[in-house]
Structure formats: structure tokens, C-alpha cells
């Protein structure tokens, strides 16, 4: 087997092991949440017998490890259980499958994340390369100052500033990003423009500065001096001689920021009233809807692990020492 395939399989195995531990942590953390779902739904006045019966119906009376395995086995088969909400004291059951609750929200979140990524990643790479090429120039300093400024403000502040300029003073984009499954693509892009810009401004600095630093770090290498002495121009040196050796650290930072786009955007969702997974999870925590919280947490964990795995693989395939062993 080619060593790269072997390494990738190893990483994949490690990723699965990580996911297993994370699922245990998610489950235990939720076990430790204070309060009781039965009590919360049925109210303070409910008789202890009623609460006990309700708990039994939901399976909350079973020991924790059994519930964990039920949940984990279900999750492997794509079944995250049934939501607790939609039930009430009168016994009416309008509860939904967790998967059905999360799926449309997840689609929205991924759509917004992809929009932001499609703008932010190329932008940061280009800015990173240009600032490395014209390092210490006025251009370099302006770009650095600008990106550092946008990353230093809280997200909601950036969001409100954008709303002020692009929705309120000049009515270019809508300030509310309310989409539903029937919204067509063009409309969807138009409505999610402002949240996507907000996220772009928040993540560009990190990726751009890493690209710049990774390239500049390599410019001191003897092989770069060699390239200069063989007549290569600045642009050629950066694109052909430095960048191919800089992918590993850049990919890591991009993966980190993409993961943030999926799991960390709840504030932006709230500001733009965007129906994403973040809001769903916050709501679920508030209503003690345990299966939904677990489902969201698991999806977030998968996102992190998957993106980091991809970054690792990029690091491996761009390293000729690993790709072409002796």
C-alpha cells in the first residue's frame, strides 16, 4: 500500500476514535445539565407519579450507559431519536424526529457557510500572497490594519454596521435573512449576502495573515536565494517556490475557520434572524430538548473532525517527502 494511503487511513481511524470520545463527552455533559425535562414540561404542580410515568415514556428512567448505546447505535444508522418538544401536559404528541428538525436548518447553515467560504478563502489567499509579495509596503500595512480591525470587533457589531450601511442608509440588501425551503437560489444568495459578508470580515484576517506568514517564513530559505540567483522574478519565487511548500499550515488555518463558519455563527444568525443550526441548538438547550442538543453537538463534532482531517490530508499530499518516499 502506498504510504500516503496508509497515513490517510490512519488519520481516518483516529478521526473515528475521536468522534467516539466526543460522543461520550456530549452525552455525559448533557446528563450533567441541571433540572429535569419531565418536571420542566409538566410544571411544578405535577404529581410525582405523573412525572415518573412521563419519564418512563421518554426512556429517561433507563440507566445512562444503556441510553448512551441506544443513542449511539441510532446515530450510526442516521437516527438521532425523537425530539422532546411538541409534547405537553395534556398528553398530545406532536413531536418530530430530530433528523427532520435539524436537516433543513443544517442545509441553511451549510449554505451560509459555503457562501462565506467562497468569498473569504480566495480573498484571504490572494491578499496573503499579495501582502507577502509587497511586504512592508503601504499596501501590506493597510491590508493588515484593515483585517485586524474587522477581526477585533465583535461579530454583532460588524453585523449591525453592515446593516446600517447596506440595508438602512442604502437599501441594497435586506437586513433580515429569512429564508425557507421554497426560496429560490438567487433570492437565497441575495438574502444571505449581509450575514455572509459579516462572516467574511470576521475570518479573513486569520487566514490571510497565516498565508502571509507561511510564505514569508520560507523566503529566508536557501532555496529561495537560489531561485533568485537563477533569475526568477518575485512573483515566480512566491507562487512557484514558496507557496507549494506553505500549503500545510495554510490548510490547517482554513479548516479551522471553515469549522467556525459551521459551528460558531449563532450570534450572526440571531442578528439576521437566519434559521440555522446555531439558533436551533440554543433553543433546544433552553427547552431542555436533549435529543436535539445531542444531535447538533454531534454534527458540530463531525464537522470539526472532518475538516481537520482534510487539512491533514492536504498537508500530506503537498509534502513530497511523504508523497514520494525514498
Amino acid at each position: 500500500m502506498h504510504p500516503v494511503v496508509k497515513t490517510v487511513l490512519e488519520r481516518l481511524g483516529l478521526g473515528l476514535a475521536t468522534l467516539f470520545f466526543v460522543s461520550i463527552i456530549i452525552f455525559s455533559a448533557i446528563e450533567m445539565l441541571p433540572g429535569d425535562f419531565g418536571q420542566a414540561i409538566l410544571g411544578q404542580a405535577a404529581l410525582p407519579e405523573t412525572v415518573a410515568a412521563f419519564r418512563q415514556e421518554l426512556g429517561l428512567d433507563k440507566p445512562a450507559h444503556i441510553r448512551y448505546f441506544d443513542w449511539a447505535l441510532g446515530a450510526i444508522q442516521g437516527d438521532l431519536g425523537t425530539s422532546f418538544s411538541g409534547r405537553n401536559a395534556s398528553g398530545a404528541d406532536r413531536s418530530a424526529e430530530v433528523v427532520d428538525k435539524i436537516a433543513p436548518r443544517l442545509w441553511n447553515t451549510l449554505f451560509l457557510a459555503s457562501m462565506a467560504a467562497l468569498i473569504a478563502v480566495p480573498l484571504s489567499l490572494i491578499l496573503g500572497i499579495l501582502t507577502a509579495l509587497y511586504r512592508n509596503s503601504f499596501f501590506d500595512r493597510s491590508v493588515n490594519t484593515a483585517t485586524l480591525t474587522t477581526i477585533s470587533f465583535p461579530e454583532f457589531f460588524v453585523a449591525y454596521i453592515l446593516i446600517l450601511f447596506f440595508a438602512s442608509l442604502n437599501q441594497i440588501f435586506p437586513s433580515l435573512a429569512n429564508v425557507d425551503p421554497d426560496t429560490n437560489l438567487g433570492e437565497r444568495i441575495y438574502r444571505t449576502a449581509l450575514p455572509a459578508f459579516t462572516l467574511t470580515l470576521v475570518i479573513v484576517a486569520h487566514m490571510m495573515r497565516m498565508t502571509r506568514a507561511a510564505i514569508i517564513n520560507l523566503l529566508a530559505s536557501p532555496y529561495i536565494q537560489m531561485a533568485k540567483l537563477s533569475g526568477a522574478s518575485q512573483t515566480e519565487i512566491i507562487l512557484k517556490h514558496a507557496l507549494p511548500n506553505a500549503w500545510a499550515p495554510i490548510a490547517t488555518v482554513i479548516a479551522f475557520n471553515l469549522a467556525y463558519l459551521v459551528v460558531g455563527v449563532v450570534v450572526v444568525e440571531v442578528v439576521f434572524v437566519y434559521p440555522g443550526v446555531g439558533q436551533l441548538m440554543v433553543d433546544a438547550v433552553r427547552t431542555r430538548d436533549i435529543p436535539v442538543v445531542q444531535g447538533c453537538a454531534l454534527i458540530f463534532a463531525v464537522t470539526y473532525i472532518l475538516l481537520n482531517l482534510i487539512a491533514d490530508i492536504i498537508g500530506i499530499v503537498t509534502n513530497p517527502r511523504l508523497l514520494h518516499p525514498k
Partner: protein
């Protein structure tokens, strides 16, 4: 390619001055040097580190390193003054009419690209040849440079070939555009002697065949003697003297040049000793599944020096790791004063640790840059001897005096010391433990020749005064002659030969020792030619 040699001037440097920026101010690096090079001629530039050889070599191409500037003079290359040209104008010369061969080929190749692409990159960029043509010619050059599998070696990546091969591929890269001038910047310094011979021969051949002019920079006189038609000696950015090679070797004029010539002449009379203080017995050691040491037996006599000689990868340093307990041998043992030492560092008592100390090659990285000389030396003195307060300070001063430094050094940081002073501090740190055996791992390899002489003399004196026993690891035969009583020759994890210095250096030799000894360059300009004839190349 036709031979370009004729008697016209290719390069003329007039009163060149270069400054470098460090410590918040500009320092003069080159202080008005003149240089002339005819087409097809090879000029040797020699001097110690800091003499400005590399700066001058690069300046011959009109290039200055970042942080340096040309403050005066002219660099006329084929009638064009390069000091008056912009970078983008000079790029038309670089990699086209003038090329560069760097010291460390391993670091100077881009790890991300295949060798043949790098070999032909500048030729194709300059539009001198089409890709197929350039590739074919690169393969022909690989063949001419005696590289194995010349047809396919170019498809490899830099990490897939050896250091000696990389250095030759870099020569091919420099030859590819058929330049008028090549600057060789210490191209064989990082190589083993046996590899160096092949690389030198290949470089000299190819430069002669094509009549390319070259500037050959080195600190090694015997190497430059093989390569250059003329030699220029530099010191502190100024020319000391210049003469044709044979004349320079026979009758150097200046005192400084003479001192360079005489440095390697320390000879220590060998002494026998019956008492064995340390013995390595039947040791086999592994790195993972790699068999590094095979049945090693070495005896170190009391108060004597055993030199461990071999090329990189021969297992010399691994022997040191086994003796100090850093690497546990799989089979065999280490005996100190006839008592077996626990195989691993962890199992050894403080007393056992104290008796064996080490000094390393890179004094720079063997010291904590954030500690003062006092911290560095006092630590073993307080740890092993339990000294504190005024006694500890007194001991540190005493140690400094032993290494010919005075009390004023006590509060300095390593960055405030010269290379030779750093190595002296490392010696003092080893002495602070009151050792009986000191392992010196290539301790002079990173130093200039004159500084080396000082360190070797110091080690010799300390041996006499303190009755120390040394294991001296080195790849340099001249150092072996200067310091050892006995010699152990190692190759590929095995001991080839062990005996008194006089026995090892007088024939008959085992095959490997013969190869090793005959590969050490000599001051004779005909040495390489004669050697190649004898080896039937």
C-alpha cells in the same frame, strides 16, 4: 557547447565596498577589493569565516544578500557595470550567463519540485533551449558528472538522493545554461572526504571541458589548490595577497597566509598506556529496526585520547550515545574502571554520570541562550559537587581560568561570545563536573582553522593537567593527527581498524582506511590528478 576559453577579461571588480546592517548599524564587510577574472579561468577565494568571501562571490554576480548594500566601486561583467543595473535587468544575467553553486545542496534545492525541473528551470526561463532539449542536455550533464542512472535520476525529488549526488546535480544546474561564470560557494564543505573527491573531480572536469570561468570559494587550502589557477586570500574584507596557485603554495608572502598554511601542523607524539579506564564491549545497537552498531569493541586507555574516525552515518556519534547511556545497546555493555555501567541513563548513579561528560559540535545550540556563562558553568558544579554561594563562584572563576578566559566573561550571554569562546565555555561546563572521561563530538568541525588550533591545544593541556581521557569523534584526519594516541576507524556501524596512531597511519591499510586516508586532500596541486590516475578513473 564550445569551449569559451580565451584571454579576454570577463569580470573586473574595482575597489568594491559592501556594508551589512546588524546591531542597529552598518558594518563594513568588503573594504575596497579588486578582482579580475579572464574567460575560462578559475580563481580561488580563501579566508576564514567573516572574511567576506561569500559576500564577494555573490557580488561578482551583482547580488547582495538582504540587509547588505554596495557603497562604492564597480562590478564590470563583460563590459556592463552591474552596480548600476536594477534587479530586473540583472535577472537576465542570473541563471543565464552567471550561475551559483551553494554550500548546502540539501537546503538549496526546493523540496517541492523534481530535480530535472530545477536543473533546467533557468535555462528554459531564459529561452536558451526548449524543454526537451534542456532535459536531454541535463541528462547528458548528469552522465558527465558520474551520477548513477543519469536517465532517471532527474525524476526524483531532492530528499530522494544523497548529499554528494545533490551537490553534483547542483553543478549540473549551474552548467545547464552554459554560463560564462559560475560561483562555487564552499560546494564540498558539507561532504564527506570520500564523496568530496568525486565531486571535486566532476566539477573540475566539467569547468575545464566547457572553459567556463569560475570563482571557487572555500576555507580549505588543499581543496582550492586542486581547483584554482589563481588564489586570492581575504581577511576582514580586504585582500591579503594574490598569486598563481603553485607560486602561492610554494612561497606565500604575507604572515597571515603563512599562518593559514601552518595551522594543520600540530603533531602530538603518541603515548601508550596499559590501564584501561573505559571499555565498550561487543555492543550492538539499533534505531528502531535499523542496525546502527555491529559488534563494537573499543578500549580507552587512562589519560589518553582515542580518536573515532569515520564518515557521516558510520555510527561514531551513536557510540557516544551508547557510552553516555542515551541509547541502550541491544547486546553488549560499557565498562568503566572494570565495572559494568547500567545500560540506560536512568539506571546510572550521580557518581557514574559525573565521571563521563560530553562536549558537542555546535556550541551555539548546546547552550541555553537565556543563561549567562555563570549559570551555564555553575549548574554542573553545584549539581555534582554540591557547591553553593561564594565557593561556587570561586569554582566557576577557576574553571574560566582553566580555559584561558577571565572573570569578566562571567555575566555574558552566549550571544556575546565568539565561536571559539562558546566552545571553551562548553569545555568548562564539562570540566565543572570533575569528569574522568570526556567525549568530544566533532568539537572543532564548526570552527575556523586558527580557532581550531587554539581549542585543540587547550584540550591537550587540560588532558595533561587533569589526567583526562578523551574519546574524540571526528571526520577530519588532520585533527586526528593533532590530538590522538590511538585511532578507531569506523565504517557502516563497524570498527574497521583500531590501534596506535602510528600503526593506523602507516601502510598496509585495510581497504576502507586506504580509501579514507587517500581521499584527504593535500596541499599539492597535482594531488587530485595523481589520485584519480591511481584510482583509474
Amino acid at each position: 557547447m564550445k569551449n569559451k576559453k580565451d584571454n579576454t577579461t570577463l569580470l573586473q571588480i574595482k575597489d568594491l565596498k559592501i556594508e551589512g546592517f546588524s546591531d542597529e548599524r552598518w558594518h563594513k564587510i568588503i573594504k575596497g577589493v579588486n578582482l579580475e577574472l579572464k574567460r575560462g579561468e578559475v580563481l580561488g577565494l580563501i579566508g576564514e569565516s567573516g572574511a567576506g568571501k561569500s559576500t564577494l562571490g555573490l557580488a561578482a554576480m551583482g547580488y547582495t544578500q538582504p540587509g547588505c548594500r554596495i557603497t562604492g566601486g564597480q562590478i564590470n561583467f563583460d563590459g556592463v557595470d552591474l552596480t548600476k543595473r536594477t534587479d530586473s535587468e540583472k535577472r537576465k544575467y542570473w541563471g543565464n550567463r552567471m550561475t551559483y553553486v551553494a554550500q548546502s545542496a540539501a537546503a538549496s534545492f526546493n523540496p517541492a519540485h523534481r530535480l530535472i525541473n530545477q536543473t533546467t528551470e533557468s535555462t528554459i526561463r531564459a529561452g536558451l533551449k526548449k524543454q526537451n532539449e534542456a532535459f536531454d542536455e541535463a541528462r547528458a550533464l548528469y552522465d558527465a558528472l558520474n551520477l548513477p542512472n543519469p536517465e532517471t535520476i532527474g525524476e526524483r525529488y531532492p530528499h530522494q538522493v544523497s548529499g554528494g549526488q545533490l551537490q553534483r546535480i547542483m553543478t549540473a544546474m549551474a552548467m545547464s545554461p552554459n554560463p560564462d561564470l559560475i560561483v562555487f560557494d564552499e560546494p564540498t564543505t558539507a561532504l564527506d572526504v570520500t564523496t568530496q573527491v568525486e565531486v571535486l573531480a566532476a566539477m573540475r572536469d566539467i569547468v575545464k571541458t566547457y572553459g567556463t570561468a569560475a570563482i571557487y570559494i572555500t576555507h580549505d587550502l588543499s581543496v582550492v589548490a586542486q581547483m584554482a589557477d589563481r588564489i586570492k586570500v581575504l581577511r576582514y574584507g580586504e585582500e591579503v595577497e594574490e598569486a598563481m596557485t603553485r607560486k602561492m603554495l610554494k612561497s606565500p608572502k604575507e604572515d597571515y597566509t603563512k599562518s593559514l598554511w601552518s595551522v594543520r601542523s600540530i603533531q602530538k607524539p603518541e603515548k601508550k598506556s596499559k590501564d584501561i579506564i573505559l571499555e565498550v564491549k561487543n555492543v550492538d545497537a539499533f534505531y528502531g529496526s535499523f542496525h546502527v552498531l555491529k559488534n563494537i569493541n573499543i578500549k580507552l586507555p587512562l589519560g589518553r585520547t582515542v580518536a573515532l574516525v569515520g564518515e557521516s552515518g558510520s555510527g561514531k556519534s551513536t557510540v557516544a550515545r551508547v557510552i553516555t547511556g542515551l541509547l541502550e545497546p541491544k547486546i553488549g555493555s560499557v565498562k568503566f574502571k572494570n565495572r559494568e555501567l547500567p545500560p540506560s541513563l536512568k539506571g546510572r548513579t550521580k557518581d557514574q554520570l559525573q565521571k563521563i561528560q560530553m562536549i558537542y559540535q555546535m556550541a551555539d545550540v548546546a547552550m541555553n541562550p537565556k543563561q549567562t556563562v555563570y549559570d551555564i558553568i555553575s549548574r554542573p558544579a553545584s549539581f555534582f559537587a554540591g557547591l553553593t554561594g561564594a565557593n561556587l563562584r570561586k569554582r566557576v572563576i577557576e574553571l574560566l581560568e582553566q580555559i584561558d578566559l577571565d572573570e569578566s566573561f562571567i555575566d555574558r550571554y552566549p550571544s556575546e561570545l565568539s565561536g571559539g569562546q562558546k566552545q571553551r565555555i562548553c569545555i568548562a561546563r564539562a570540566l565543572a563536573a570533575n569528569p574522568e572521561v570526556v567525549i568530544c563530538d566533532e568539537v572543532t568541525s564548526a570552527l575556523d582553522q586558527i580557532v581550531q588550533e587554539g581549542i585543540l591545544k587547550l584540550l591537550g593541556r587540560l588532558q595533561k593537567d587533569l589526567n583526562l581521557s578523551y574519546i574524540f569523534i571526528t571526520h577530519d584526519i588532520a585533527t586526528v593527527k593533532a590530538i590522538s594516541d590511538e585511532v578507531v576507524v569506523m565504517n557502516e556501524g563497524e570498527v574497521v581498524e583500531q590501534g596506535l596512531k602510528s600503526e593506523i597511519f602507516s601502510p598496509p591499510h585495510p581497504e576502507y582506511t586506504e580509501l579514507l586516508l587517500s581521499s584527504v586532500p593535500e596541499m599539492d596541486p597535482d594531488w587530485l590528478t595523481d589520485l584519480l590516475k591511481a584510482r583509474n578513473y
